[in-house]
Amino acid sequence: MLTTLLIAHMLVAVLLIGALTHQALAAWWPAPAGPRSFFANFRAVRAASYTNAIVILYVLDVVMGGLLYPDYRVEVRTFLEQLRLKAANGSFEIKEHLAAIGLGMLPVYWLVWKSKLEEYGSARKAMTMVLAFTVWWNFIVGHLLTNIRGFGL
């Protein structure tokens, strides 16, 4: 059950990374008109259309992470402390802070993307970038910790 939940947590994170990266690049670096390269096509999306999916996926991923946390706290963190892997513990601590702060930003993130007001343009870009950074950090740290025994530590 725990393994299934962990895999589902990671798969939702993959979807979230894809959606947020598309949206962030489309917001910061709009694709030009006319024939496009592969990278320009990656940015040539209707950025606002990702908003609801991002909010739902983010909440879902935090809930799943929250359900996994008790086992991490008892089993994994104790293991990391015994091996004195301080940086690994610190990276996870930052992961939980980023997830929590990002969760609190979701209502206003949703608002600035749903509103057509031009005055929200810079807030739209900045909030998307903050959430994208959050999700990328958490995804990488989560994978490193899951596979930490494979690093020969």
Binding site: P70, E93, I94, A100, I101, G104, M105, V108, M127, V130
Partner: protein
Amino acid sequence: MNAMSRAFPVFAIVYAVVYALAFPYDWQLFAYYPAVGEFHFAAQPPTLGPPINWYGWMVTAAIAGVVAAVLSIALPARWNRALATLAWVVPVACIAYLMYLARVWFI
């Protein structure tokens, strides 16, 4: 939409600030002790195993955020633009502060 234009940014601002303070000052509303599967409002002896305060920090921050968001509806609409900017600047500053606190793990 107009009330949300103030309530949602204020929620993000206050939530981030209270969360960033809840972590170093132990303002968690409750703690969960996973080894015994119990929630407690007060700190427990080490025999119960390590606590998880993260849930409690988020709930504390969410309560403060909701209260502030409700009060913010009374603010004038001309604050909307400034609040939208603060709604990402303040969380970014809080993230930087929390990362600064986490430096002890890396030195």
